[in-house]
Amino acid sequence: MADLSKKYDVLVAGGGNAALCAAIAARRAGSSVVLCEMATKFYRGGNTRHTRNIRCAHDAATETLSGPYPEEEFFQDLLQVTQGHTDEVLARHMIAESKTVLDWLPEQGVRYQPSLGGTLSLGRTNSFFLGGGRSMLNALYLTAESLGVEIAYEAEVVDLDIDNGMFLSATVQRGAERHTVRAATFVAACGGFESNIEWLKQYWGPAADNFLIRGTPHNRGTVLKMLLDRGVQETGDPTQCHAVAIDARAPKYDGGIITRLDCVVFGIVVNKHARRFYDEGEEIWPKRYAIWGRLVAQQPDQIAYILFDASSLKLFMPSLYPPIEAASICELAGKLSLDPDVLEATVTEFNAAVRPGTFDDTILDDCRTEGIKPPKSHWARRLETAPYYAYPVRPGITFTYLATKVNKQARMLMSDGKPSANMFAAGEVMAGNVLGRGYAAGMGMTIGSVFGRIAGREAAANARN
């Protein structure tokens, strides 16, 4: 069991990808390192457990990547998904560093594989972890342990002693005991606050009670809040979070990737009043899936239903929960507790508005509606082949954007703009610096690995001086 009474060179708060990369980098640079993970050993790793790939720039195809992904292209992708809400200097630095991270991770035991079935579009840009995120974590933990990183499980940082931007010690609760852990430097790598429903309610009101949290229940933002309260500069929109529509039958926390539904484009989506509320065929799914969490969050009771018919059932990946099935729209309404007359009317109106076209779900096809609001711009086909199906969906929160401001050294900046003497941040807790809004697959892991490695390196250098 990790000795929490010793003084360390580096204290890492958190136990996910960013924390491990920081701990390993610092240890390899010669520092003594203690890592405090608040979860049990099984649940260690926060949201990294649910990840599956990392986006790194590279100049040539590799064994598992189908082609080059130049730095500039990565930056343009980032600009596009964030709509410009990024810190260009930091972002470009991250992208440049990601090139060597691509090789650095396998040196720490992480294994890649070609993109998974159904994710061909990411085959050139994203390296998939063989066995998924937990496999990646297991490798990093084994490496950290063998290097001599002290790892404390069920050890939560509950207080921070910070004097004028200088970290002095942390209070760590482990089991029934409280320890004052002293270290020369501090790395915060312990996530955002999406699991803290009370905090979410400050911005979303009672609607947040109906949110499902896709990852760890531990990302309560305790350390983030303490840092901001003690003078660290904040960045990123505190009111925003990344939200997708997931199966409403998913558990409150930790349902992970498998509760997602990729069938919006094949049908129509109605709210609890059985009415449509947004263009389901606006854009190809990978470009639009992330808006549906917010859209559903804005509907009454934060619930919606994806409706489709038998002709679409096998067009998308099999789902975790079975679709709700009925022989008629009326019966389906009954099973969903929707007003059958309104639902019938909605479907009839939609069907009547569908123009003839050639259906092709791989392109922006010419199947569209005319004369209804909202329209369905592509892939619009009549719901007319029984049986009819529905998935209930709710907003599934992935992460939050509120962050501690950092510089290129991953060093936290204080509210007066001065760099902290010895505090660093990596991963979701500082993601908002480069990811002001939006998301593209694998970027969370890029931020975690790149800034984790930088934070570890810089903390070690800091501790030496």
Binding site: P114, F129, G133, R134, P251, P318, I324
Partner: protein, 376 residues
């Protein structure tokens, strides 16, 4: 409507509760697919959207129990999704052995296989010793016999050959019938190809490697050596079998009678194989004892142990016989050895031995499917 039953559960009929659970797991896994690169089970799963019993038995027998998907899974217990693929597929696999047994009336043998093996072995040994004694006078059993034909002074070669020929033939028929039932239950497979690929995959134990870095057994470290011990066991068995075949050819074609000198082919093959069959089963047995209980199909452990123990006993008695064949212990050891081998053959279709056949058949099916799928 929003009440959650166990995630992934589907309405539908399965022959057993375990098959229903396997269906649930494959449904969960099919909506995740993170383990796609670890082995053949998950790519085979991805070629399907629904999982009838025959398919589940196929997938279960395709699983080599490397443990990687359990260690890598974010939903393994204590997570509420309770995804424990290695254990459930081990359970389904063991159930499937009984389901495909020929004749079906002997299916209950699997459930009590540890016990059954012990009883059959004891009876076989007793029968052989009595047989020796009956053939000659009891004093033969404690005499010293050397030179060509020494073994057959206890029991004539033809009697021995007849006895083993019959039991071997029976085992082959029973195994073939089981294999046929297993293959048919998996549905129609593409006709062409797959055999050579499957031979390579089985011969190298390609999927007993934890997806490349080694298997998991007692914790999250991939330092398990079951692949090595299984190679010792399998190739040891193959060498022993080859030794028997060569000796039979010697006997009938060259009229050369056992025992053979130490440098002769049957003895060299048998000795090398025997050494493999000593250390292989020992390693596997130790690995079994150390395995994380959460991945183990507890009720069927006896069957695993019984088979490993029989292989070990076959080899041990055979090697002892080799070393002590010029002493008065020979007749007793020969009786023991033949008794154990007899029991091994007789119980083959009703114990862990069948895993090799079904897994090989599953690999053939997978190779065929994979080929058809990728060429599409």
């Amino acid at each position: 409507m929003l009440a959650t039953e166990k995630a992934g559960a589907r309405p539908g009929s399965h022959a057993t509760a375990l098959l229903a659970e396997a269906d649930r797991l494959m449904t969960v896994c099919n909506s995740c697919r993170y383990c796609e690169g670890l082995c053949a089970v998950f790519p085979a799963m991805e070629m399907r959207r629904a999982f009838p019993d025959g398919d589940l038995n196929y997938l279960a027998n395709l699983c080599h129990s490397c443990g990687a998907c359990y260690v890598d899974c974010q939903f393994s217990p204590p997570h509420e999704f309770d995804v424990n693929v290695p254990r459930v597929l081990a359970q389904v696999r063991n159930e499937s052995y009984a389901a495909y047994t020929w004749p079906a009336a002997l299916a209950p043998m699997f459930a009590r296989n540890g016990l059954a093996i012990a009883i059959v072995a004891a009876l076989s040994v007793a029968a052989f010793i009595l047989g020796f004694a009956a053939w000659h006078d009891a004093s033969v059993i404690f005499g010293t016999h050397t030179g060509p034909g020494a073994f057959y002074r206890l029991m004539p070669h033809n009697a021995m050959a007849l006895l083993f020929g019959l039991v071997f033939l029976y085992a082959m028929v029973a195994l073939a019938m089981g294999l046929r039932a297993f293959w048919r239950d998996g549905g129609v497979a593409p006709l062409a190809g797959g055999l050579w690929q499957a031979i390579r995959d089985a011969g190298t134990l390609r999927y007993l490697d934890g997806g490349g870095i080694g298997c998991y057994n007692h914790d999250e470290r991939p330092n398990d050596r079951r692949q090595f011990y299984h190679h010792l066991t399998f190739y040891g068995f193959a060498l022993c079998f080859a030794s028997t075949c060569v000796a039979t050819l010697y006997h009938y074609l060259l009229a050369r009678e056992a025992p053979y000198p130490w440098w002769d082919l049957p003895v060299v093959l048998g000795t090398l194989g025997g050494i493999g069959l000593i250390f292989g089963p020992l390693g596997l047995m130790i690995a079994k004892l150390r395995r994380d209980p959460i991945m183990v199909d507890e009720p069927h452990l006896g069957m695993d142990f019984a088979f490993i123990a029989m292989l070990f006993a076959t080899s041990l008695t055979g090697l002892l016989l080799l070393v002590l064949r010029a002493t008065p212990a020979m007749p007793l050891l020969l009786a023991l050895h033949l008794g154990v081998v007899f029991a091994l053959f007789l119980t083959m279709p009703y114990g862990k031995f069948v895993h090799g056949l079904y897994r090989f058949a599953a690999l053939v099916r997978y190779a065929k499917e994979h080929k058809a799928f990728t060429s599409r």
